[in-house]
Symmetry: C2
Subunit: 353 residues, 2 copies
């Protein structure tokens, strides 16, 4: 996705600031592992290609990106980033040059792009067109984009909730958590979320309409906390964190419960993952634990977009973003995911033009 | 299930040797935790009851029984045994007294009974009638009983194999392992089993027709062993052991693989279960890991019995038993499950009359 290949054909050359990975990361990442550098881009596609050039408007900070910062990316889903090269992630962009019949200049899209001002996309089929530009475009990094589709597919296709079931989501104020909790409420579930600050807990209860929420950092004993919030046990756990929370949840599952495994953010910065001890509960309670990835559900993205736009317009789903302004803030915004600094979906505004 | 309640009504009093638990067990159990004691039984049912009295012929030694020997049976599925009282487990029995309309004297049944010569069953609905007494009756402790139904339901209802898939089963020469491997072969899977001795490995390959088998005790690196036997990865893992084997399997699962969690025998004698580190593979490979218990599938027992009797008569399924003769041998036979001493289904003959 480097623009290097596009240089030398035609089109205006423009400055192109970019966020590069300075070195592979072990343990906890820091801002200093990344650097914002100057560069140049040509607003043209290579001759004979079906590429597009994107002007990036909003970049999405997502926990899975940590995996790509390691040298050996055994624990993530996509190849490792290369030191000296630009980071990549989901974003919202406008097409500024196109040789692809499905995309014309001026179209807004969401999908994988570079952490830079302009990105050449050789295979634009991976991009999704934005059908509701009347919505805030930044929402397509979250509630209307990859995290929203993750919540939607993970809930309906993996967890398969029924009315009246007890639903628990960890990292509940994050991009996926806030949406999946609200969708579970719309399904008629009793919804409890955990988060890492009292401010987020308040948000979950007052803004997102969760039935209950708690600050996991204030709980000495997560098993006791879950017993308190789920005296009848948990039917569905939407898993974002792993580690000790997962072990506590396993002890509190109900018969025929489901654990939809979306991510395990507490493990991403550990060289050795924490061991999970209570898997025997899977047998005792006949639990189905199933991992999933949003990329398998891209076929649902248009149905999802229409449904979610409807919920937003009807105020059935509310949405909170944590916006960092400018590419310079991107490294800190990404690191903040792992310290739990963000309140709501963390994104970076590159430009609003 | 004590016969005490039956005493004092009518019927002949007979000697009734029984295996009792002497004390609750922590860590590895020993023969000395049990004791064979003399007792008496009356071959009559309490007035006004719908009970039956069973003469026990064969008793089944099953790994899950270890959980019932602990004081706090958090990690098993059924209540703890009580010190001084008779052990209970699956067995094959003949009805010698009956007040229940569905059971008459002389019927053969399988189901939960006492580790003793005679057992009063207050609620005989839990028993299954043996419809093929022309088969070896001991088979109803195994291939035609609870372990056989476990293999059948776990395979078809939980793992859902497709022809050509790569299938791995641990503890493969045990009661469930040998059957599930052969059923997977009949479905058209490529089947590999692990076991704890070269003798068992040979049995798996020559007698049970597995495609490959290996002695896990001889492997320094289970991950490397699985890579060798499954260069394309594992579609289905039928889980009996837990611990390091599960962690190695997780690293070798294929996309959309399934792990049917039947048991975790390597963990039953540990005060703290081993931690499982590689659950992130569930996401990366979109794996479904699901626990199940045979008691949920009793509705299929007649269909299962007919199908399995057919396979046995046609030599499509072969079956190996490890038989201990006499109640006195029962404690050692049970302990042997955890040292891996048994070759094939471990059972105890109480009497053949």
């Amino acid at each position: 996705m480097s623009l290097a290949a596009a240089v030398g054909t035609e089109g205006q050359e423009v400055p192109n600031r970019r966020v590069i990975l300075k070195r592979h990361v072990t343990g906890f990442p820091s801002e200093d592992d990344m650097e914002v550098v100057a560069g140049a881009a040509r607003l043209a596609v290579p001759p004979g290609s079906a590429a597009v050039v994107l002007k990036n408007l909003y970049l999405s900070c997502d926990p899975y990106m940590r995996g790509r910062m390691s040298k050996q990316n055994r624990r993530s889903y996509v190849p490792a980033f290369v030191p000296g090269e630009v980071l990549a992630g989901h974003g919202v962009s406008r097409v500024v040059a196109s040789a692809h019949p499905d995309f014309k200049v001026g179209d807004h899209v969401w999908g994988m792009t570079g952490w830079e001002e302009y990105t050449l996309i050789p295979n634009p089929e991976s991009l999704s067109k934005i059908n509701h530009p009347e919505m805030p475009l930044s929402y397509y990094t979250g509630v209307l984009g990859m995290p929203g589709l993750t919540a939607y597919a993970g809930l309906y296709d993996v967890a398969k909730p029924k009315k009246g079931e007890y639903f628990f989501v960890s990292a509940a104020s994050g991009a996926v958590g806030q949406i999946v909790g609200q969708l579970a409420k719309l399904t008629g579930c009793y919804v409890v979320g955990s988060a890492g600050s009292d401010e987020m807990v308040k948000l979950l209860k007052t803004k997102f309409g969760f039935d209950e929420a708690f600050n996991y950092k204030k709980e000495q004993d997560l098993n006791a906390a879950l017993q308190r919030y789920f005296p009848e046990g948990i039917d569905i756990y939407f898993e974002h964190v792993g580690g000790t929370m997962l072990d506590a949840v396993l002890l509190n599952m109900r018969m025929h419960g489901r654990i939809a495994v979306c991510g395990m953010i507490s493990q991403y910065n550990l060289e050795q993952p924490q061991g999970i001890q209570n898997l025997l509960s899977l047998i005792i309670k006949r639990v189905r634990m199933e991992g999933f990835m949003v990329s398998d559900y891209l076929g649902q993205r248009h149905k999802f977009e229409e449904e979610m736009v409807g919920y937003l317009k009807d105020d059935k789903i509310v949405y909170v973003e944590d916006v960092a302004e400018g590419l310079e803030k991107a490294p800190a915004a990404l690191i903040g995911l792992f310290t739990g600094r963000n309140v709501g979906k963390q994104l970076v505004t590159v430009t609003q033009e």
